[in-house]
C-alpha cells in the first residue's frame, strides 16, 4: 500500500494523507507547519517534521505515530532546523540548521550524537547516498557538500584531515533547492537551484558531469532510476523532463536533454515538491496552489488530484507500507517499547558516548517447525550403531542390564525346573513307595 503524505508551511497546515492507488483520504495529522524538506518518515514507524516557528530561539521537531492525529513527541533542538533526513532503518535523523550546522541524532535514545559545522550559510536540503554512508547537503549560497558519516564519527581521521567533507561543490550560484542521489557504487548526484540550473555530479569522482539550464527557478527534483529520466519542478508551474545523456561532445561533461514537460494549464503556481513511487510510474507533485497532482509518467497525464486543506504544499512523501499490515498503520508500541524519546538539545560530553543506545530490532522470524528440528530418529540411528558396536560404556551398560534380566530369568527357570524335578522326584518316590506298599500288600 502506498500513501501520499503532504504538508504545508502555513501555520497549523497539518499533514494530509491519501492512498495513492484508490485516492481515498486517510487520517490527517494536525499542527504541522513544515519548511521545505522538513517532512520525513522515520523507518516506517513514525512521521517526523521540523517546524517553521516565529521565534528564532530554538527549533522544533515533531513526531506523529501512524494512528494518531495529535503530535506525539515534541523536541526542541538548539536552533531552527529546516531540512531533515532519516536512514531507511529509521535509526538516525539528520537535521540541517539555519546556522549551517548539521545535527545527527539517534532516534531510539534521542541522543545528539554529532553536530558539525557544514558551512557558514543555512542548510537547505539533505540527502543520503544509496548505501547511506554518504550525506549530501545543499546550502543557501549554492554550495553542495558531501560528507562521509564514518569520517564524521572518526575522531582520529577528523584531526588528520584539514576538512571534514569529502567533496565540496561551488558551481551553483544561488540557493540549492533539492538534491537527489542515485546509483550505488557509481552514483550520481543531481542538484537543482534557484539559479535555474540542474547540475549532475559524480559522487565517486567528485566532479561536475552535467549541467542543464532551465527557463525558470527549479524547486524540486525527482529521479527515475529505471528510465534515466529526471523530473524538475519549476517556478513556472511546469515539470520538465530531462534524460540524462551519457555521451557528449564536450570533454567529460554529460549533457542533459529536455525531452518534455508535464503541464497543467490551469495552474501557473510553482511546483515545490516531487515524489516518485517505487515503480517509477506515478509522480506526485505538490504545488503552491495547494494541489497535489498525480501524473502517469508514461502517458504524461494527470491521473488524480488531491487538495491539501490548507495553503501551499511544500512537502510530499510517498510512504510504502508492507502488505502484511493490510492497511493498518504499524503501531509504535507494538513491542512494548514506550514512546520514542524526544531529540536532545545538546550533545553530551564525549565520555558519555559509551552509553549510546543501540538496539537489536525485533525481527519476525519464521517459527514454523521444520523437519530438521526433529531429531529422535537421528539419535536412534546413532544409538543403534553404538549398540551394535558393543564397545561403548553406555551400550555395555544396557547389555549388562539385559544380561542381568536374562540371568534372573534363567535363575527363575532353574528354580522352576528344580521344583518340577522335585515334584517329579517326589511323585516317583511316592509311586515307588506306593507300589511297594501295594505289592507288599498284595
Amino acid at each position: 500500500m502506498e500513501l501520499v503524505m503532504a504538508s504545508s508551511s502555513t501555520v497549523d497546515g497539518g499533514i494530509g494523507c491519501w492512498d495513492l492507488k484508490t485516492g481515498t483520504e486517510r487520517l490527517q495529522y494536525r499542527s504541522c507547519a513544515s519548511p521545505p524538506h522538513g517532512l520525513i518518515c522515520v523507518g516506517k514507524r513514525l512521521l517526523a517534521s521540523s517546524q517553521v516557528r516565529e521565534s528564532n530561539s530554538s527549533g522544533s521537531i515533531f513526531y506523529w505515530s501512524w494512528n494518531k492525529p495529535q503530535v506525539e513527541v515534541k523536541s526542541f533542538p538548539a536552533e531552527s532546523i529546516k531540512p531533515l533526513v532519516s536512514n531507511r532503518d529509521g535509526s538516525y535523523i539528520i537535521g540541517g540548521g539555519s546556522s549551517g550546522y548539521i545535527y545527527l541524532w539517534e532516534v531510539a535514545g534521542g541522543k545528539l550524537l554529532k553536530k558539525w559545522s557544514g558551512h557558514y550559510r543555512a542548510v537547505t536540503c539533505l540527502s543520503f547516498s544509496d548505501d547511506e554512508s554518504l550525506l549530501i547537503s545543499g546550502f543557501e549560497d549554492g554550495c553542495v557538500r558531501v560528507w562521509s558519516l564514518f569520517m564524521i564519527f572518526d575522531g582520529l581521521r577528523r584531526e588528520e584531515a584539514n576538512h571534514l567533507y569529502v567533496h565540496s561543490f561551488h558551481e551553483h550560484t544561488l540557493r540549492v533547492t533539492d538534491i537527489v542521489s542515485f546509483g550505488s557504487s557509481n552514483a550520481i548526484i543531481a542538484s537543482v537551484s534557484e539559479d535555474c540550473t540542474c547540475k549532475v555530479w559524480s559522487l565517486s569522482e567528485g566532479t561536475l558531469i552535467g549541467n542543464i539550464v532551465f527557463s525558470s527557478k527549479v524547486y524540486s527534483l525527482a529521479l527515475d532510476p529505471s528510465d534515466h529520466a529526471l523530473y524538475a519542478g519549476c517556478m513556472d508551474g511546469k515539470i520538465y523532463i530531462a534524460a540524462l545523456k551519457a555521451e557528449s561532445s564536450r570533454g567529460n561533461n554529460y549533457q542533459i536533454h529536455l525531452t518534455g514537460s508535464l503541464t497543467d494549464h490551469r495552474s501557473i503556481k510553482a511546483v515545490t515538491c516531487l515524489a516518485l513511487d517505487a515503480y517509477g510510474i506515478s509522480l506526485v507533485s505538490g504545488s503552491d496552489d495547494g494541489m497535489l497532482r498525480v501524473w502517469d509518467t508514461k502517458t504524461r497525464n494527470i491521473i488524480r488530484v488531491f487538495k491539501h486543506p490548507k495553503g501551499p504544499v511544500n512537502n510530499v512523501l510517498i510512504v510504502r507500507l508492507p502488505l502484511y499490515l493490510n492497511g493498518q498503520m504499524p503501531s509504535l508500541r507494538r513491542h512494548g517499547s514506550l514512546l520514542t524519546p524526544a531529540l536532545e538539545k545538546y550533545a553530551s560530553s564525549t565520555e558519555e558516548n559509551a552509553e549510546v543506545k543501540a538496539l537489536i530490532a525485533h525481527q519476525t522470524t519464521c517459527n514454523r517447525p521444520l523437519d530438521g528440528l526433529y531429531h529422535s530418529s537421528e539419535v536412534m540411528n546413532d544409538q543403534g550403531k553404538e549398540l551394535q558396536q558393543q564397545g561403548s560404556s553406555v551400550a555395555s551398560d544396557m547389555e549388562l542390564e539385559r544380561l542381568k534380566l536374562d540371568c534372573t530369568r534363567s535363575m527363575q527357570m532353574v528354580q522352576q525346573w528344580k521344583k518340577m524335578y522335585e515334584t517329579l522326584h517326589q511323585y516317583c518316590v511316592n509311586e515307588l513307595l506306593d507300589g511297594d506298599l501295594t505289592g507288599n500288600s498284595s
Binding site: 565517486s204 529520466a229 545523456k245 512494548g336 517459527n367
Partner: protein
C-alpha cells in the same frame, strides 16, 4: 487377506496398512522374542518415512473402508509401542521410546492432538529419576520428548497445554543437568531444553535462576567437550527469551561479559597492561552501580576458577563469547540495549594480546605458561572475531558511531595476523562491513584489502608453472603491484598507539614472499573480499589522494584479477566432487578457488570503469568454463556471460517514452557492430595481449579482426558513400521530420568524413580504423548522432576518470537525439533555443578535435 489381492501401484493406499502390518509383525521387537538387531529399527523408520505409513490419510483417500483399515493398523502400531515402552527389558524400552518419537513426528494431526498427553506421560516417566533406567533410555526419551514438543509447537491452539506440560518437565531436566550423568544425557537434556525454550519459552519462567545456574556451571566447569559447550552456550543465550523483557537480556549480557573479563584477567596475566583490564570492567559496571551477581549465581565459581588449568579457562571464555554472539544475532521479543562499548573493548583486549610478554611484567610468566597460552590464543582470537561479526550483524545501521573504531582495530590486527584461519575470518569481517556500510567503508578499506590480498594471492600471481610467453607480462604488473603495496605499508599505520606492532609489520612482505604459499581457503577469502570491494565501490577513488596514485587502484586490481583467474584456470578445470575418502566439508577444493577467481573477475568487469580492459580474455574464460557441464562453475559462467551481455551488445531500453521503441529497434540493429569494434580496439591497446595464447586460440575473434582489416582497406576508395547514399538516409524516419536539423547534419557530414579520411591517411592507428568502420556500418547513426564518431576516441581520452560504460553512453545518447527530434519539438521551444542550439553547435565543432585527440592516446 486374499493372496492375490494385489495393489494398483506403489502409491496405492491399500499398500500402506499392509506394509505397516508387516513391519509390526516382522521387524518391530515384541515382548516374547529377544531383540537382537537394533539396526532393524532404522529400516523400519526409513520405511515409515518414505511411504508415510503413519499418515492415515492421503490425497486420494476416498475409500472409507481403506482408511478405517489404516487407522486400525496404526492403532495396533501404537499399542505395540506402548507395550514396548513399558517392557522390562531396557533394549526393548529403548526401541519403543525411539519409535514413539518417530510417531510424534509422522502421525496425523488428529491422532497427535488426541494422544500427545498420554505419550508425554509415558516419556516423562523415563526422564524422571528412576534408578533402573540406563542412560541410553534417558537420551532416547529426551530426543523423543523434544520431537513431541516440536510437533506441539506447530499447533497454535494448544500453547497453554504445551506450556503446562513443559513446566512439569523442566525440573527433571535441570536435575538431569546437575546430576553426574554422562555427556550424552546432558546433550539430550540440553536439546530438549532448547526445544522447549524455542516453542514454549514461558514454561521456563519459574525455573529461570536454577536453569541459569545449571547451564553456567556446566560452561565454567572444565568437563565438557567443545561440542557440548556450544550447545550449552546456545541454551544460555536463549534463556532470557523465557522472560522476554529488556532487563533480563541486559543482565545476562552484563554477567557474561563480566565473567569473560574476570577469566581474561587470569589468563592474560603478564601479557597485557593492567590498565586495559580495569578499563574493560569499568565500561561494564557504571561507577554508581553495584556489580551484578556472578553468572549462575554461585560465589564459589571464582574460587573454582583459580584451581583450573589455563586451557579450560580459555575454552570457557570462547564458549561465553559464542553465547554473546548468539544473543546478538538472535531475535528478541522486545528491543534491548546493546552494550557496544564493553563488547568492543573486550574484543580489542583479546585481539591485542599476541602472546608477547609486556615489558614491565616479564618475570611473572614462565615459558611453559606462555607456551600454553600461545597455543590457545588463535582459537580465542577466532571467537572474538566471530563476536565482532555478530556485533556488526546485530547492530545493522546503528553501527555507525563505532564503525571507525572497528575499522582501525581490524587494520591493526590484520597487519600482525599471519595464521590463515584468522586471516580468513578477518576477510569475512571486512566483507560484511563493506556490504553493509557501502561506499563510505570502501574509502577506509580499499588499500588494506588490496595490499593484503596481493600478499595472500602471491602464489597465484607468480605462478611459475606457466608457459614462457605469458610469463613476461605476468611478471611486470605483479611486481609493480608488490612494490607499491610495500611502499604503502610504510606509511599505512598512523595511529600512534600501536607502535610496537608497526616494527614487526614492515618486514612482513619479504617474509611472505619467501616462504608462504597460502592455503586455498585463504585465497578464496581474499578473492571474495576483493570481489566485494569492487561490487560496493569499484568506481571510487581511494582516499589516500595525496599519493597521487588514487586512480590506479582499479586498473591494478583489474590486472591482478585477470592474472589470478588465468593462472587459476590455466591447468584445466578441477573436479568439484569431493572424493568419498577425502576430508569432509570444511576444506575448500581447487574448484572453489577457480570459481572464486571467476567471480572476482566478473565483479571487476561489471564494476563501472570506462571500459573493461580484459573483456575478451575474460569472455574466453567464461566460455570455456561453460563447457564444464553440470558443475557449479558452468552455472556461474552462464550467469557471467548473461551479465556481460550488456557490455557486448548494448541493447535499447526505452528511455523516457515507450512509444519510441520502434525507432530504437531500427537504430539498434544498425549499431550492432560498434561495441565489438571497441573491444578489438581494446586488445590492440593492451600490451599483454600480443602474447596471450588464449586469445590467439580464439578463432572467431581472429577472423573478425581480419574482416575488419579488409573493410578498412576498402573504405578510403569511396568515402563519400557514407553521406551520399540517399536510400540509406530515407530508411530512418526521424531524419526527415525536422528540416532544420537535417540540413545541419548534412552540412557536417562531408566535413567529418573528410576529417576521418585525413586521419586515416597518415595514421595507421587502430582506433581510427574502428571509428571509421562504425561509420561505414551505420551512416545514419552518424547523421543523427555525432557521438558515434567520437565514441572510441573519447573513451580513450577519459579512460581514467569517466565512469560510464561506453556501451551505455552510446545508446543513451543516441536515443535522446531521436527522442528530441521526433517527439518533442515543444521542448526546444521551452529551451528558447539556447540550450539545444548550443549543444548542436558544440557537437558539430567538437567532433573534429575529439577524433584527432584519439591519436596521441593510442600511441
Amino acid at each position: 487377506m486374499a493372496v492375490f489381492d494385489n495393489f494398483i501401484n506403489m502409491y496405492d493406499i491399500k499398500l500402506k496398512p499392509r506394509l505397516l502390518r508387516t513391519l509390526i509383525k516382522e521387524h518391530v521387537p515384541d515382548e516374547k522374542h529377544p531383540f537382537r538387531n537394533p539396526s532393524e529399527l532404522s529400516k523400519v523408520v526409513s520405511m515409515i518415512k518414505t511411504h508415510k505409513l503413519l499418515g492415515e490419510s492421503s490425497m486420494e483417500a476416498t475409500d472409507k473402508k481403506q482408511v478405517e483399515i489404516w487407522t486400525s493398523t496404526v492403532d495396533a502400531w501404537v499399542e505395540r509401542l506402548f507395550s514396548l515402552v513399558s517392557s522390562s527389558m531396557p533394549d526393548k524400552r529403548w526401541a519403543g521410546i525411539c519409535l514413539l518419537g518417530v510417531t510424534c513426528q509422522e502421525c496425523s494431526d488428529e491422532r497427535f492432538l488426541a494422544s500427545y498427553s498420554v505419550w508425554f506421560h509415558k516419556l516423562l516417566s523415563h526422564i524422571q529419576q528412576s534408578p533402573g533406567d540406563c542412560h541410553f533410555v534417558k537420551v532416547a526419551s529426551c530426543a523423543s520428548m523434544s520431537d513431541l514438543f516440536t510437533r506441539l509447537g506447530g499447533f497454535s491452539n494448544v500453547k497453554k497445554e504445551g506450556t503446562s506440560h513443559a513446566g512439569k518437565l523442566i525440573q527433571y531436566l535441570l536435575q538431569l543437568l546437575t546430576d553426574d550423568y554422562s555427556e550424552a544425557v546432558w546433550e539430550g537434556a540440553v536439546c530438549l531444553l532448547l526445544t522447549i525454550m524455542t516453542f514454549f519459552p514461558s514454561s521456563i519462567h519459574r525455573h529461570y535462576d536454577s536453569a541459569e545456574a545449571a547451564i553456567a556451571s556446566k560452561i565454567i566447569s572444565r568437563r565438557s567437550s567443545v561440542h557440548m559447550l556450544k550447545k550449552f552456550s546456545h541454551c544460555l543465550a536463549l534463556l532470557p527469551k523465557s522472560r522476554g523483557d529488556e532487563d533480563s537480556w541486559s543482565l545476562m549480557m552484563q554477567k557474561i561479559l563480566l565473567t569473560i573479563n574476570v577469566h581474561l584477567n587470569d589468563a592474560f596475566q603478564g601479557l597485557e597492561d593492567e590498565t586495559r583490564c580495569r578499563e574493560a570492567v569499568r565500561l561494564l559496571v557504571a561507577p554508581a552501580k553495584s556489580h551484578p551477581p556472578p553468572l549462575g549465581g554461585q560465589n564459589e565459581a571464582s574460587e573454582k576458577l583459580k584451581k583450573r588449568s589455563e586451557q579450560s579457562v580459555i575454552s570457557s571464555i570462547s564458549t561465553l563469547m559464542l553465547c554473546c554472539s548468539t544473543m546478538l544475532t538472535n531475535s528478541y521479543p522486545v528491543q534491548v540495549n546493546v552494550p557496544v562499548r564493553p563488547l568492543l573493548a573486550l574484543i580489542e583486549r583479546v585481539l591485542m594480546v599476541d602472546g608477547s610478554l609486556s615489558q614491565s611484567l616479564l618475570p611473572l610468566m614462565t615459558s611453559m605458561q606462555q607456551e600454553l597460552i600461545c597455543s590457545q590464543l588463535p582459537s580465542l582470537h577466532l571467537h572474538s572475531l566471530e563476536l565482532l561479526l555478530s556485533i556488526i550483524k546485530g547492530l545493522r545501521s546503528q553501527l555507525l558511531p563505532y564503525a571507525a573504531d572497528i575499522v582501525r582495530l581490524i587494520k591493526v590486527y590484520l597487519k600482525g595476523c599471519t595464521l590463515p584461519e584468522l586471516r580468513i575470518q578477518v576477510y569475512l569481517v571486512i566483507k560484511v562491513l563493506l556490504i553493509s556500510k557501502g561506499l563510505g567503508m570502501v574509502v577506509y578499506f580499499a588499500q588494506e584489502v588490496i595490499d593484503n590480498a596481493i600478499i595472500d594471492l602471491d602464489s597465484l600471481i607468480h605462478d611459475i608453472g606457466n608457459n614462457a610467453s605469458s610469463d613476461a607480462y605476468r611478471k611486470a604488473p605483479s611486481e609493480s603491484l608488490l612494490k607499491s603495496s610495500r611502499r604503502k605499508r610504510k606509511h599505512g599505520n598512523r595511529s600512534g598507539s600501536f607502535e610496537e606492532h608497526n616494527d614487526s609489520v614492515n618486514m612482513e612482505p619479504e617474509v611472505f614472499k619467501k616462504g608462504r604459499t597460502s592455503s586455498t581457503s585463504l585465497k578464496i577469502a581474499a578473492l571474495e573480499a576483493i570481489e566485494c570491494l569492487l561490487s560496493v565501490g569499484g568506481s571510487l577513488r581511494s582516499e589516500s589522494s595525496q599519493a597521487g596514485n588514487q586512480k590506479f587502484w582499479r586498473s591494478k586490481i583489474d590486472n591482478l584479477l585477470m592474472i589470478v583467474a588465468t593462472n587459476a584456470c590455466d591447468g584445466g578445470w578441477a573436479k568439484e566432487e569431493k572424493s568419498v575418502f577425502g576430508p569432509n566439508e570444511k576444506t575448500s577444493s581447487y574448484a572453489d578457488l577457480q570459481l572464486a577467481s571467476l567471480r572476482a573477475l566478473l565483479a571487476a568487469l561489471l564494476s563501472p570503469v570506462v571500459r573493461p580492459t580484459y573483456l575478451s580474455q575474460a569472455l574466453d574464460l567464461f566460455r570455456r568454463g561453460r563447457q564444464e557441464t553440470g558443475t557449479k562453475l558452468a552455472e556461474f559462467c552462464v550467469h557471467a556471460l548473461l551479465a556481460l551481455e550488456v557490455l557486448i551488445h548494448p541493447r535499447y531500453l526505452p528511455l523516457v517514452d515507450p512509444s519510441q521503441t520502434s525507432i530504437n529497434c531500427i537504430s539498434a540493429g544498425l549499431n550492432f557492430k560498434l561495441p565489438e569494434n571497441k573491444y578489438s580496439h581494446d586488445k590492440k591497446q593492451n600490451p599483454f595481449l600480443v602474447n596471450d595464447e588464449s586469445w590467439n586460440q580464439d578463432g572467431d575473434e581472429t577472423d573478425y579482426l581480419l574482416t575488419n582489416v579488409e573493410k578498412n582497406v576498402n573504405y578510403p576508395e569511396n568515402p563519400n558513400e557514407t553521406s551520399g547514399d540517399p536510400e540509406v538516409e530515407n530508411i530512418d524516419p526521424t531524419v526527415g521530420s525536422s528540416g532544420i536539423k537535417d540540413s545541419e547534419e548534412q552540412e557536417q557530414q562531408p566535413a567529418m568524413a573528410a576529417s576521418d579520411h585525413f586521419v586515416m591517411g597518415d595514421n595507421k592507428d587502430a582506433v581510427m580504423v574502428d571509428a571509421q568502420l562504425s561509420m561505414e556500418n551505420s551512416p545514419q547513426e552518424n547523421a543523427i548522432c555525432h557521438s558515434v564518431n567520437v565514441g572510441p576516441g573519447r573513451t580513450e581520452e577519459e579512460s581514467a576518470n569517466s565512469e560510464i560504460t561506453p556501451g551505455k553512453d552510446f545508446r543513451v545518447d543516441k536515443d535522446d537525439g531521436l527522442a528530441a527530434r521526433s517527439e518533442n519539438p515543444i521542448i526546444f521551444d521551452s529551451m528558447k533555443g539556447k540550450g539545444s542550439a548550443l549543444e548542436l553547435d558544440d557537437e558539430g565543432m567538437d567532433s573534429f578535435p575529439d577524433i584527432i585527440d584519439a591519436e596521441p592516446d593510442s600511441d
